[in-house]
Amino acid sequence: MIEFRNVTKTFQTKGQAITAVEKVSLTVEAGDIFGIIGFSGAGKSTLLRLVNLLEKPTEGEVLINDKSLTDYTKKELRQQRRDIGMIFQNFNLFTSRTVAKNIAYPLELAGVAKAEIKHKVEELLRFVGLSDKAKHYPEQLSGGQKQRVGIARALATSPRILICDEATSALDPNTTADILQLIQKVNKELGITVLLITHEMQVIEAICNRVAVMEEGRVIESGTVFDTFTNPQHATTKRFISATEQDLPSAHLLEKWSGSQLYRLIFKGDKASDPLLSQATRKHQVDVNIIYGTVKELQQRFFGNLIVSFEGEEQKIQAVLQELRQAIEVKEVAIA
């Protein structure tokens, strides 16, 4: 649906060239909620703006449904842009227009008849849950409500793609969750492909099925959210993940266990719901201490990461470990 083919974007500023996006190749399939994550300055916004040609690629091409937007005339390009809705971190609503008029704007541009606009706006207001705010001005809305208006406006021309530039970065955690749910509803109910960028792993975790990690203009890792999250390859990816779930408790807490060997148990998918640990320890009469860890849901699958210690005869502990290793990943934890 969206295909980046070896895309590079270089900005010429006074005296120097800044390569914001470098040789990026990525494919976003129809129906995806595709997340791009990266630290500030990684080139995420630039990459996103290449999709609707707010930036022109310096090299390579971006294909939308197998066609490059650079092949269109200016007029055709404006037509094509109606097929790609966009929402923004700062909402970018028109302050001189009411909520209803903001949503009507892209339809007015498209020359849709008044009665039809009215009907469509009402429908969109219902979809985003703001029917009572039609006549309000943006400054009378909360951040979350503003983003709902942004989403309604982006959906007005019934696009097939929605691109989101840090759509929840200006919102508190609760509102973020609401907006993410709405984006998911857009994807599921309207069948719209979503490409979003963020610097928050929680956003990816909550709604994306696929993810790409960007650093210094390049995509350093990409794949399904589950695989990338449970088996990160690149140091930067690991940093993002450890930002949401710390790998280890602090050294201060770990001191308590300095005498004993700690193990990290990693459960993925169905394994996380099997009573493996309790079965193995009961069978060999070993006690288990769960010291630290998380169990979470990713793409409707479990992912568990536990740090444990065992108490019992060494031989029996080894037997437990052997049994566990057959089903899940077990690593020894070195305490510094």
Binding site: L54, R78, R81, N90, N92, S96, Y105, T157
Partner: protein
């Protein structure tokens, strides 16, 4: 020689009418011309919706040459051109031409400054929705900047009252002319006082109108 107020009042009324004519006419003309220049300046600047280096350079150069010229000097310098365009250099109609020229460049800068303060994200949002440059000008730039723009134009209106008084002293008619001929040249303080009071009232009125209108637009 003191004026006879009995017969002089009608002349004051007539002069006030001339001043108002000059101010209103030049406000309309310079708003139209200045807005077009200001929009062009904004659209053609680097990264603008109709980026065009040469148009931007030439317009900026033009404005930077004309604006620093004191209005009295511009008025005199433009006389030959005024004669060609209006047919005379005396009277209210002849004053409107140079005032419009001077004010248009002021309006152009006011418009440009107000456009610059629009959040670029909003313009980008319109572009992303498929708006053409002309649509952006009509449906985003003008409505989004309108509130502060009205305040800016109010400020310009006050300068127009000032310009019209200056133009009056060199034959443009209006209150400036009366103050000059009767007040200054014939040492009649009462005429000066009356014209000054009327000018102050006009300025207050313009300011009040502008403030009211802009707060209506800005909803505060």
């Amino acid at each position: 020689m003191k004026v006879d107020w009995q017969t002089f009042w009608p002349r004051i009324v007539e002069a006030t009418g001339q001043t108002l004519t000059m101010v209103i006419a030049t406000l309309i003309f310079s708003t139209i011309i200045g807005t077009i220049i200001g929009l062009t300046l904004f659209a053609t600047r680097k990264g603008g919706i109709l980026e065009n280096r040469w148009v931007a350079i030439i317009l900026n150069l033009g404005i930077n040459i004309i604006r620093p010229i004191p209005f009295v000097i511009l008025l005199v310098a433009l006389m030959p051109l005024t004669r060609t365009v209006v047919g005379t250099t005396i009277g209210t109609a002849a004053a409107i031409f140079p005032i419009t020229i001077a004010a248009s460049f002021v309006v152009a800068r006011v418009v440009e400054n107000n456009l610059i303060s629009i959040d670029p994200g909003v313009i980008e949002a319109a572009e992303a929705m498929g708006a053409s440059p002309l649509q952006i000008i009509r449906t985003v730039l003008i409505p989004e900047a309108l509130g502060p723009l009205v305040l800016g134009l109010t400020f310009v209106t006050v300068s127009l009252i000032d310009f019209s008084a200056v133009a009056g002293t060199v034959g443009g008619g209006g209150l400036g002319h009366i103050a000059m001929t009767h007040g200054y040249q014939r040492f009649d303080t009462s005429v000066i006082v009356v014209t000054v009071v009327i000018l102050i009232i006009l300025v207050q009125l313009a300011q009040w109108l502008g403030n009211t209108l802009s707060s209506k637009i800005l909803r505060r």
